[in-house]
């Protein structure tokens, strides 16, 4: 029986994909097909980077990209959030007197947090919003960079070293009327409890003179915690707090601590009720986001307590 030419070619390349073959061939080539090396006695030429913190996201805030993002947020993220997270959105009325751009600062447990926020932030901020996203995670190559900028309106934020570029870019956008979504913990929770808030949001609020809106997200860790591959649908609560402004003489470190306290008070409000949370807030007795300072297994045990309880009550026939 005669073999088809396609089968013959495939066997001849060992079953490898054409892109892998091309990449392998290119690596074997030398200058001028590859980039030149720099002599040791010469200062290397600094070339502007294309990805990471240097990725240029201006295009993602132009009208075509904004329309595409609007379609993605409303057509894809909203139904997905409704199915996976069944969000109960509270406290939107606290923004009734706010005019102009703001910085939203939720706690961070899951990759679901960003789409949930993008579909929960009320108008008029929702569709003129950018997201501060880790340059080392979301902007590692051109594809992820473009996708991050397009789908969530991300700008790269350097998390591992101090740089002015991210702050300058964010400040410029805020001054131009854009609101910002940033997770001040700097990354998702590794164990279900909160991490200390960094000062970026507080610094930008001080620099640009805009309020910070603390937000508490409850339940997203149950759906898609750090390390999980597949989401498990569950219910969530998104609670917006009263806008905060820096007080006279307050520096970004102290303001960041106050933002963290406000998110902790919102967490208490979600877990109990508003009046009880306010009573504890006045006594500075709201439970912290960081959880109990005990052995690791006990922290995990405490973080898991609510989830275990919910599982038991929901299972048929109990």
């Amino acid at each position: 029986m005669a073999r088809s030419p396609l089968v013959t070619r495939s066997r001849g390349n060992g079953g490898r994909k054409p892109t892998a073959i091309a990449s392998s061939w290119l690596k074997r080539q030398s200058f001028p097909l590859t980039a030149p090396t720099t002599p040791e006695t010469v200062e290397p030429v600094e070339r502007p980077g294309k990805v990471g913190a240097d990725y240029d996201t201006d295009w993602a805030r132009r009208t075509p990209a904004r329309i595409a993002r609007l379609a993605l947020v409303e057509g894809v993220m909203r139904p997905a959030a409704a199915v996976l997270a069944q969000p109960d959105r509270r406290g939107g009325d606290r923004l009734a007197d706010v005019d102009g751009p703001v910085i939203f600062t939720p706690n961070h447990h899951s990759h679901l947090d960003t789409p949930l926020m993008l579909t929960s932030i009320p108008e008029p901020w929702r569709h003129q919003l950018f997201v501060g996203a880790g340059a080392d995670y979301f902007f590692t190559n051109r594809v992820t960079s473009a996708l991050s900028a397009l789908t969530i309106g991300a700008i790269p934020v350097e998390r591992r070293k101090v740089t002015r570029r991210s702050a300058d870019q964010a400040a410029e956008l805020i001054d131009a009327g854009w609101s910002m979504l940033i997770f001040p913990e700097g990354g998702r929770s590794p164990d279900g409890w909160g991490q200390p808030f960094r000062g970026g949001a507080a610094y930008l609020s001080l620099r640009c003179g805009v309020p910070v809106v603390p937000v508490h997200l409850q339940g997203t860790g149950r759906i898609l915690r750090k390390g999980a591959k597949l989401p498990t649908p569950s219910s969530t609560t998104v609670t917006f707090g009263d806008p905060l402004r820096p007080e006279d003489g307050e520096d970004s470190r102290r303001f960041a601590a106050r933002i963290e306290d406000a998110v902790a008070a919102l967490a208490d409000e979600t877990a109990t009720n508003w009046y009880e949370a306010r009573t504890r807030a006045h006594r500075r007795a709201n439970p912290t986001l960081a959880g109990p300072e005990v052995a690791r297994w006990r922290r995990a045990w405490a973080a898991d307590a609510t989830r275990a309880k919910r599982r038991r009550t929901g299972r048929w026939p109990l």
């Binding site: 509270r90 406290g91 009325d93 606290r94 009734a96 007197d97 409000e269 009720n273 508003w274 009046y275 009880e276 306010r278 009573t279 807030a281 006045h282």
Partner: protein, 531 residues
């Protein structure tokens, strides 16, 4: 630009047709030139820039009273009473003013460590508020913190075990109010003062009172001697509430009054509804297109859908003032704020007063405007929106525009149905109605049951609506309703007319051919100061 005050337009040949509200619809009517005038409300006053800051400031610096913070202590009994669904009109956009104030009060209570807190919707004999209405008024945070434990609830004026008799006024008026309020260390009353009749001692003496108390001033004699009940200096209703307030104070009930006022921004400055608060000759092409689309669309909608559209409207009104402290001192400042927005000077009375009645009054929020409420809104509320003298002369004619359907909300207004079918079929004379029928309805066990357990107005409530118009009934020579259901209008004792021109012709039989006409262009709300 500063908002323009209200004014009186003399109608001439170039005056465009004037907007008449007509229930869940509108009419454009041309008024006769040379003998007609139109009273326009002032434009919305500027709202407070920082309402929450103003509320906190009022609580820290009250009038003739210690700061609220100083009145709160651990272990105390705190009761927060607030105005019910009848205020403001229409319902306002979130956050409602009551939510802002109650959250500020509770925040101070939380700081002071107060545990025993009750929140009561002060609805007197009105229907109970539903969960969603309560949530809208006080906000989800307050509702979720108190309602699940039964600490946020509607006042029940028929719960004998939870009423306290506090004594009688010097005129023998009995004062009986909520026992929880009477026994509290402090009552904080949260008011929205939409019109000058609201607030003051009326908040507690009426809002938290039973029929035993209310019958002393919700009666024909009081209403006919309140000229008008919106004018505090000439209102027997106001005087009775003030006497009762003194009894409450002398009984040791400590009330911290918080009163707020809102501006006239009922339909907004943008969007299709904004045309309704513009002066007709200032309508742009877009306004005219909106109006045409709205009025034509409404004409083809079933009445249930129309009501649903209007009941869904939330007014973007803003807060213009907030005062806290001693009741009478606070109310003087509040009344000045109300007058600042609503008072329009008008020279002299008129022979014929015209008005277009809108879709809403205090007693049909999320409900049906039945014929009794049409009478109450026109002859009760709108007719009484005056200081000095009534807008229409004694023996003059009132022409109202409203579809006046023979239709009732069976859950909200069960006793209204019987009042309309049984009482008005026999007589429309308020004195006769009061004497013959009131007690039977007020003490009817079925109406009591519906008031307490369902969402029904109290059995006696339709009587009060009729009494509300008794001053106008005594004053007017005739009342004509344009575009109303003929049978329903006749049952009310009024004359039906198909068009305004017909109504003016009919009116000329009473006041002559060259009678003067004044159109009361309301809403937005205005109050005529007639010289």
């Amino acid at each position: 630009m500063n908002p323009r005050p209200g004014f009186v337009l003399e109608v001439d040949k170039s005056t465009p047709p004037i907007l008449f509200h007509h229930g869940e619809g509108f009419r454009l009517e041309r008024l006769p030139a040379g003998r007609s005038r139109v009273i326009y409300a002032g434009e919305p006053l500027k709202a407070l820039k920082d309402p929450d800051g103003a509320i906190r400031d009022a609580l820290e610096h009250p009038v003739d009273k210690e700061p609220l913070r100083a009145l709160l202590f651990p272990g105390m009994k705190l009761t927060i009473a607030f105005d019910d669904i009848s205020l403001p009109l229409p319902q306002m956009r979130r956050p409602d003013i009551r939510q802002r104030v109650i959250e500020a009060v509770l925040d101070l209570a939380a700081e002071a460590g107060v545990d025993d807190v009750h929140l009561i919707a002060a609805l007197a004999l009105h229907r109970r508020m539903t969960e969603s209405e309560l949530r809208h008024a006080v906000g989800d945070r307050v509702y979720d913190a108190f309602a699940p434990d039964g600490l946020l609830y509607n006042f029940d004026a028929e719960d004998r075990d939870n009423l306290a008799f506090l004594g009688e006024t010097e005129k023998g008026e009995e004062v009986e109010i909520s026992k929880r309020a009477a026994e509290s260390d402090l009552v904080v009353y949260v008011n929205i003062n939409l019109v000058s009749m609201d607030g003051g001692h009326k908040s507690t003496a009426t809002g938290l009172a039973s029929y035993r108390s209310l019958r002393h001033h919700h009666n024909v004699h009081t209403m006919q001697h309140s000229n008008s009940f919106m004018d505090q200096e000439h209102s027997a209703l106001h005087s009775a509430n003030w006497r009762m307030g003194k009894v409450i104070r002398d009984a040791g009930v400590k009330v911290f009054q918080i009163e707020t006022t809102v501006n006239n921004n009922v339909f907004g400055t943008e969007g299709p509804m904004s045309v309704l608060q513009k002066r007709e000759w200032e309508w742009t092409a877009r306004d005219r297109a909106s109006f045409l689309a709205m009025s034509k669309g409404l004409k083809h909608m079933p009445s249930k859908a129309k009501r649903s559209v209007f009941n869904g409207w939330r007014a973007p009104m803003g807060m213009t003032g907030v005062h806290a402290g001693e009741i009478e001192a606070v109310h003087r400042l509040t009344t000045a704020d109300v007058y600042r927005q609503q008072l329009v000077p008008v020279e002299g009375q008129t022979d014929i007063l015209t008005m277009g009645l809108p879709y809403i009054c205090p007693y049909n929020v999320n409900s049906v405007m039945n014929p009794i409420l049409v009478m109450c809104l026109g002859l009760g509320y709108f007719f009484n929106m005056y200081k000095g003298r009534p807008l229409v002369r004694e023996g003059g004619v009132l022409i109202m525009s409203h579809p006046t359907p023979w239709e009732f909300h069976p859950v909200h207004h069960p006793s209204y149905i019987d009042f309309f079918e049984q009482v008005l079929a026999e007589t429309t004379d308020p004195v006769e109605i009061e004497k013959t029928f009131e007690q039977g309805f007020a003490e009817d066990e079925w109406y009591r049951h519906l008031y307490r357990t369902s969402y029904a107005y109290h059995g006696v409530h339709p009587f009060y609506m009729w009494y509300w118009g008794s001053h106008a009934l005594k004053h007017l020579g005739a009342t004509i309703i344009v575009g109303g259901d003929t049978r329903a209008v006749r049952r009310l004792g009024f004359k039906p007319a198909s068009t305004l021109q017909d109504a003016l012709e009919m009116a000329s039989d009473v006041v002559g051919r060259d009678a003067t006409i004044t159109h009361f262009h309301n809403p937005p709300i205005l109050m005529a100061d007639v010289s």
